[in-house]
């Protein structure tokens, strides 16, 4: 769904319905990124719901209507960071099999391999990979979301993808 400026302006003015529309347009993306980053659906739900609340509180201060997406993903990223910091020893093992779409007949071994390899990445690496590969964000957009220099994002992604490829080819 395209985010119309009118909808965003209404949401900034406190219109719940308008904000609801904005949120629903990115909700699944938010959840996917949180799910792959954190590795478990409970924390992903917490992170997304906290993002929703924080975005609702702060949307009146949104400067540019066009920056809604990177803005709300920045909130999500910060929320995920807080969750991740509680993982220390446990690396947030991904346990997605039970929560992904059921009824997929072709449960290819490749899928299990990809998930296993994702499990071996750090949560930050997973987040960058998901934002880039699954959600299609550019380096610049990811840099805005993560509040990192663009070169750092590019380097991290490059290293992570190489690592992914090597692990999958081994």
């Amino acid at each position: 769904m395209l985010l119309s400026r009118e909808t965003i302006a209404k949401a900034k003015g406190g219109d719940r319905q308008a904000f609801g529309q904005l949120y629903e347009s990115v909700a699944l993306e938010l959840y996917k990124v949180a799910l792959y980053t954190l590795g478990n659906p409970e924390d992903a739900e917490d992170a997304v719901s906290e993002t929703f609340l924080e975005a609702w509180k702060g949307i009146s201060g949104l400067r540019e209507e066009d920056s809604f997406r990177p803005w709300i993903f920045r909130i999500l990223s910060a929320r995920c960071k807080r969750k991740i910091s509680g993982y220390i020893k446990e690396r947030g093992n991904i346990d997605l099999e039970d929560y992904l779409e059921e009824g997929v007949e072709d449960r290819s071994p490749r899928r299990a391999e990809v998930l296993e390899v994702m499990n071996r990445l750090t949560p930050e690496e997973r987040e960058i990979v998901v934002l880039s590969v699954l959600e299609g964000y550019t380096m610049r957009e990811i840099a805005q979301i993560k509040e990192l220099p663009q070169g750092t994002v590019s380097s991290k992604l490059h290293r992570t993808l190489k690592k992914l490829r090597q692990m999958l080819n081994d």
Partner: protein, 458 residues
């Protein structure tokens, strides 16, 4: 590898990764995450909050919430007084500095306390501290700042204590400084300050690590020793960055691991862990400073750039298989470190050269409070803006106390020091030097606020 080749290589990796990920099945949004469900929960929360506020009005006082901010600001006040006092510490005797600094700061604090009631900020004193005294932001002031930059920290800002309590204390510190300067006329005119340690919550330091050359190993780049272990980093153009671990000065490494593409600038042994500090000075990095006005399209590309420091912590429980366990990134240039019992103190610097037009847009010379990688919106006075506009460069130092103990949630507490400051570390103390303090009337441009800030590591 040239930039274009690097971009092409990255693009190829992305294409390959997309092929891998196309096998992943769809994810469904849980029912609890629809807008309707979330608004229902929000309404419940607001109702509970209203009930809670009603209870407070009825006389229930949350003791710890009332006193914690006061104690925190008291610690900040003592630190400010110590810094502004200008003790003229003898640098030949660092061992005596801590005790003398503590004694002087105590004297100064005692002298300053009675004045706190009488101090009145004036408009002539347009330093950032005076601004805080004059126009101490109310509880809702930070919320008015653009949510675009500050939303990730919104909850913490709303939980922070009322800032008007610090106003009178900060305003009085100016008079305390004058008083203590009068008392220290016999001290050296060189402005040396010992600070931060107490404010960083009584950090205890390890015995110093030693750096020494391994004569058997030519071409050393960085070599650090910790007990019977030696960590060596080789920097060879065109070769991957490799860290080697030697034991008992053996000529063959026990193990080695590849780190990153960025240049390694330091190795910090931390017990059974090793922190690898990387510096990236990518020209495409964008400085995330505090903007005063929205940028026009295209202006963002013209902003100055600063590098980024990444600290990667490896678990060395199994020397033969080092394992990456932590990683965080902070913008700026790495200067130095000090290991602590639970982590390390990291010193980084930001230096920005600006054109006059860029200086008019940025006001990063003013101290900012950071939470992890997020800059909390800082209320700025017109005087502060005027003071920094037209300048061609600003520089400030960031001290980060990073807790890597792993037992609890890791935390990173930061102090941001103003421009023209230099930081020197000895094994047991952090020295903040301002050689131009005399020109500025003994007042370094620095504001510390460590009271309520407990930040996430990454």
């Amino acid at each position: 590898m040239a930039l274009n080749e690097k971009d092409q290589d990255l693009e190829q990796e992305l294409e390959q990764a997309r092929l891998y990920f196309q096998d992943l099945p769809e994810v469904r949004l849980p029912a609890s995450l629809t807008a309707e469900s979330l608004f229902e929960r929000l309404d419940e929360l607001e109702q509970k909050e209203a009930e809670s506020q009603q209870q407070q009005k009825n006389g229930k006082v949350l003791f710890w919430k009332t006193w914690r901010p006061v104690l925190s600001y008291a610690a900040v006040f003592i630190l400010l007084v110590a810094v502004y006092y200008g003790m003229g510490i003898d640098t030949q005797k660092p061992a005596q500095l801590m005790s003398s600094a503590a004694a002087v700061s105590q004297q100064t604090a005692e002298a300053a306390l009675p004045q706190a009631q009488q101090a009145a900020p004036t408009e002539e004193n347009a330093s950032p501290r005076a601004y805080l005294a004059q126009e101490a932001p109310q509880g809702d002031a930070p919320a008015e700042a653009p949510a675009e930059e500050s939303a990730p920290a919104a909850d913490t800002r709303q939980d922070s204590p009322e800032e008007n309590e610090i106003g009178p204390m900060l305003a009085s510190s100016g008079e305390a400084t004058a008083q203590s300067k009068a008392n220290s006329e016999e001290d050296s005119t060189t402005a040396y300050y010992t600070g931060v340690v107490e404010a960083l919550r009584q950090v205890e330091f390890w015995p110093e690590t030693q750096t020494e050359q391994l004569p058997q190993l030519p071409g050393n780049e960085i070599v650090v020793r910790d007990g019977d272990l030696y960590f060596r980093y080789k920097n060879i153009d065109g070769q991957p960055n490799i860290v080697e671990i030697y034991q008992d000065k053996g000529l063959t490494p026990v193990s080695s691991f590849q780190v990153a593409d960025a240049v390694i600038v330091d190795l910090v042994p931390l017990g059974d862990r090793l922190a690898v500090v990387e510096q990236e000075d990518d020209s495409s990095a964008l400085y995330t400073g505090q903007l005063l006005t929205p940028l026009e399209e295209g202006q963002a590309a013209a902003l100055p750039q600063c590098g980024a420091v990444t600290v990667s912590v490896y678990d060395l429980s199994d020397l033969e298989q080092p394992r990456l366990v932590e990683s965080f990134t902070q913008d700026g240039k790495y200067l130095d470190h000090m290991p602590t019992e639970n982590g390390l103190v990291m010193v980084t610097r930001k230096h920005i050269d600006l054109t006059e037009g860029q200086a008019a847009l940025l006001c990063h010379g003013a101290p900012i409070i950071r939470q992890g990688n997020n800059a909390v919106a800082q209320a700025l006075s017109p005087q502060q803006v005027t003071a920094y506009q037209g300048e061609t460069g600003r520089e400030y130092v960031v001290l980060s106390l990073v807790d890597l103990s792993g037992e609890d949630r890791p935390t990173q507490t930061q102090a941001v020091l103003g421009s023209r400051l230099n930081v020197q570390l000895s094994p047991n103390a952090i020295f903040v030097l301002d050689s131009e303090a005399q020109d500025n009337g003994g007042k370094p441009q620095a504001v510390f606020d460590l009271g309520e800030i407990e930040v996430q590591l990454r």
